[in-house]
């Protein structure tokens, strides 16, 4: 899997304007956000992230200066397929917690499209919207209660006026079946 291509697909899918900034590098922009993505070795990532950020900002300094508000929404995204050790992991956390100039998103050990999407969460809408369909619960329950008289099931499922009335109706439902 080519990380940078997957990242391009993901961003374009959410209507970002994406263009290449050279080998392993993309830049992107939408109505609110902008920034760049770099696919790097872990070593390169940890060693060059700051310079790469500065390069990106410098190359767009004129237009960013004209749009001061949007300049707040700059993202520097660094992705690497290399698996980080503990020291690298701490370095990555430190990079992400550095608020200077841009919001940094760093993910190492990127192996799958899901990893890419996960890395780009700050840029894209909620992904896993749950469709909690509970409307079939009553249908499922009705199906499970098929051995009961229909009228009895109806009594159980509808809102009763009182415990006494439901008792009477439930009992009558069984009387109907047995007669």
């Amino acid at each position: 899997m080519r990380i940078i291509e997957e990242a391009r697909n993901v961003l374009e899918n959410y209507h970002y304007i994406v263009s290449s900034r050279g080998e392993g590098m993309l830049q992107f922009e939408d109505e609110t956000l902008l920034g760049f993505i770099g696919e790097l070795s872990l070593e390169s990532l940890l060693g060059t992230w700051s310079r790469r950020q500065d390069d990106f900002l410098r190359s767009n300094s004129r237009t960013l200066g004209n749009s001061a508000l949007k300049a707040w929404n700059v993202y520097s995204v660094f992705l690497s397929s290399d698996i980080p050790d503990e020291a690298a992991r701490k370095s990555i956390i430190a990079i992400e917690e550095d608020f200077r100039a841009s919001r940094k998103v760093v993910l190492a050990g990127v192996q799958t499209t899901a990893d890419v999407i996960r890395a780009l969460y700050p840029l894209i809408p909620i992904q896993n919207i749950a469709a909690l369909e509970t409307s079939d619960s009553l249908l499922k329950l009705q199906g499970r209660l098929s051995a009961l008289p229909l009228a009895a099931v109806d009594v159980l499922l509808r809102d009763p006026s009182s415990n006494e009335s439901i008792l009477k109706s439930f009992q009558e439902a069984h009387e109907i079946k047995t007669t």
Partner: protein, 675 residues
């Protein structure tokens, strides 16, 4: 459907009528403590539910509760107290919902807020609870909440409350049917005892009926009325009663006759005994008479002896003086031939002879007195003996007389008994009467059996009817028990099934929700070492929902307060985004980022942005103006709705007011240069 504006009048911190507009995309409200931010959120909840859930029913102080503080109460009470929410409806029209102290009015179909299927009980409370995320709910419904309450919240939020009600209903039915079964079983036992009793009575009646033979009713009636002494026209039923009475009398008569016969037989020996008693009485009488004569004779002798003794005793007194004179004479002796006592001239020989004579006289008298004393004692003893003998014979005589009288009285009683029974006191007469009485008894007995046999058929018929009725009742109860048994079994089965289905539904929903919760957890990054969160459900009677990070790590005891809040926000947002029944997707957050650091606040802003990109309208209050600015920069997006930044302020005496409203326009569409 989107929130367009809120109009508040004398509500909570707002004294003056105030309108709060909302951006179609987002609204960020900022302001210091007490500037009215939370009152706006309260207003939104109140206009939906007329209730503020962040104050529980137990929040009472000095007898006051939140209901006393819904409306502005500093100074005169405003006549116009209301909260009005204006909504942009999907059809392009505008709808209004107004809450006042007296109620809620809605100008549009309420079902636009939520889907009718599945029906959500108390939908507005649930809508409000899952739409409005505030500090209290983050704490209450996140990891700080007991697992059971968290489960209940989730259960309600996904609209499964009907299953809970159905399960409760089924369980109530099980209990009610159980009680009804017990009552019916008791009733059944009583009815069965009644049937058994009737069957027993029928059996007895049949036995009686079996003894009855065909008979001439008229002849029987005539004969029985004669035997019983009843008038000839007496009805058979009364005749039966008369026969029963007569039978009792005649059986008593037989007993008395038998006793009379036995007594008569025994009375033969009584006569001999009487003669013996009389002989004895006469002998005792003769002996008594002899004894009486002897007693009298002894008394006479005793009296005579007593008299002789008294005379001797009198003489003896005189002899005492004589003995003293003699003693004097002997001591003095003859004085010159003269007696010293009488002075007469006497010889010594004569004087001595006289003294000797006196001595002899005294001795003789003493002898006689001793003899008379002994005789008197003897006579007295003999008298006492005879008197005792007499008394003893008198008693013996009295007894003999009594025995004779007793026997005579017994014989007189026999005679009287015979007279009463109308027989002679003779064995043949008594035996004859006994035979006759026994024959009458047999005849009466036979007649009674005939009569009872006749009535037994009627009684059997009556009893059979009773039995049929009682048996029908038993059958009816048995059927009812069968019905109830089946119903109870089905109710139990329904309760178990409902529990299973609800459990499965919750599990399904949680499984479906899990990726979203995980995504939100990753996006919010509450902890650098834990990037996964899982849920666990357990419990049978009471159900629990808990979270786990890492392997078996409970975040409740691992995360800091801010981290727990981040997890709580993730959970509440996941629920908010997953409500299948909700058609009003506005998300309202009341100062949700307390205790959260800048790094995680940025993540939070990104999460809100990612929710905005779904098209949800977002209203968020924050205290920090810088955070408000950050949110405005991140949430803005012209194509999916405009934004507003509202700054609130509290003015002394005038309450909360809007200080500033800023339209958040779109950012420049293109900034980056082509590479």
């Amino acid at each position: 459907m989107r929130l367009k504006q809120l109009e508040l009048a004398a509500f909570r911190g707002f004294k003056e009528p105030t309108t709060i507009r909302f951006g179609t995309g987002f609204t960020i409200i900022t302001g210091r403590n007490g500037s009215g931010k939370s009152s706006i959120c309260d207003a939104l909840e109140y206009v939906l539910t007329r209730h503020l859930s962040r104050f529980g029913p137990t929040d009472v102080e000095g007898g006051e509760r939140i209901d006393d503080y819904i409306w502005w109460r500093n100074g005169a009470r405003s006549a116009n107290r209301q909260v009005k929410a204006v909504f942009d409806l999907d059809d392009g029209t505008v709808g209004e919902r107004t809450a006042t102290p007296t109620g809620i009015e809605n100008t549009f179909d309420q079902s636009l807020f939520y889907d009718k299927r599945p029906q959500v009980s108390d939908p507005f409370s649930l809508l409000s609870q899952t739409m409005l995320i505030r500090d209290e709910s983050i704490v209450k419904f996140s990891t700080d909440l007991p697992e059971a309450d968290r489960f209940d919240f989730f259960y309600r939020a996904i609209g499964l409350t009907d299953l809970v009600k159905i399960e409760e209903r089924a369980n109530t039915l099980v209990k009610q049917l159980g009680r009804r079964m017990e009552e019916l079983e008791k009733d059944y036992r009583q009815r069965r005892e009644s049937v058994a009793q009737i069957i027993s009575e029928i059996s007895e009646a049949r036995t009686i009926a079996a003894r009855a033979t065909a008979f001439d009713t008229v002849a029987l009636q005539q004969r029985l009325t004669i035997l019983t002494g009843l008038p000839p026209e007496t009805p058979l039923r009364q005749v039966a009663a008369g026969v029963a009475r007569t039978l009792t009398d005649q059986r008593s008569r037989i007993g008395r006759l038998e006793r009379l016969s036995a007594d008569l037989s025994q009375s033969r020996s009584w006569l001999e005994e009487l003669r013996r008693f009389e002989d004895k009485r006469d002998a005792v009488k003769a002996s008594l008479d002899t004894g009486e004569s002897s007693l009298k004779e002894a008394a006479t002798l005793r009296i005579a002896a007593g008299e002789a003794l008294r005379q001797a005793q009198a003489r003896n007194l005189r002899l005492g003086a004589l003995a003293q004179l003699r003693e004097q004479g002997m001591r003095i002796g003859l004085q010159n031939g003269h007696c010293p006592l009488c002075g007469s001239s006497i010889s010594s020989t004569d004087f001595d002879a006289h003294l000797k004579e006196i001595q002899e006289l005294i001795s003789a008298e003493n002898q006689a007195l001793a003899e008379l004393t002994a005789q008197e004692a003897s006579r007295t003893a003999e008298y006492e003996q005879r008197r005792n003998e007499y008394q003893s014979r008198s008693i013996e005589y009295s007894r003999a007389m009594s025995d004779c009288e007793t026997l005579k009285a017994a014989m007189a009683q026999l005679q009287n008994q015979a007279l009463l029974l109308g027989v002679k006191l003779e064995a043949p007469s008594i035996e004859s009467e006994l035979l006759e009485t026994r024959r009458r008894v047999a005849e009466l007995q036979s007649g009674l059996i005939q009569l009872e046999g006749s009535s037994a058929f009627d009684r059997i018929a009556d009893l059979e009817k009773q039995r049929a009725i009682a048996q029908a009742e038993v059958e009816q109860i048995t059927k009812q028990i069968d019905v109830l048994s089946k119903a109870a079994q089905n109710a139990k089965s329904a309760a178990d099934t409902t529990k299973r289905v609800s459990w499965e539904s919750v599990d399904d929903c949680l499984a479906a929700l899990s990726p979203l919760l995980s995504e939100l957890f990753v996006r919010l990054k509450p902890h650098m070492d834990y990037s996964e969160v899982r849920y666990h459900m357990r419990g049978d009677v009471k159900r629990f929902l808990s979270f786990e990070i890492g392997h078996g790590i409970n975040p409740r005891f691992t995360f800091s307060s801010g981290q727990r809040r981040a997890l709580g926000i993730a959970f509440l947002l996941a629920v908010h985004l997953s409500r299948p029944w909700c058609k009003f997707p506005t998300l309202v957050l009341d100062d949700p980022v307390q205790h959260i650091d800048d790094y995680r606040a940025l993540h939070f802003a990104e999460v809100l942005s990612s929710i905005r990109q779904l098209g949800h309208q977002i209203v968020c209050t924050v205290q920090d103006p810088a955070l408000a600015d950050l949110l405005c920069r991140r949430l803005r997006s012209a194509s999916i709705g405009d934004g507003l930044r509202i700054e609130m302020q509290y003015e002394a005496g005038a309450g909360a007011r809007v200080k500033d409203v800023q339209e958040i326009g779109p950012l420049p569409e293109r900034v980056l240069m082509s590479a």
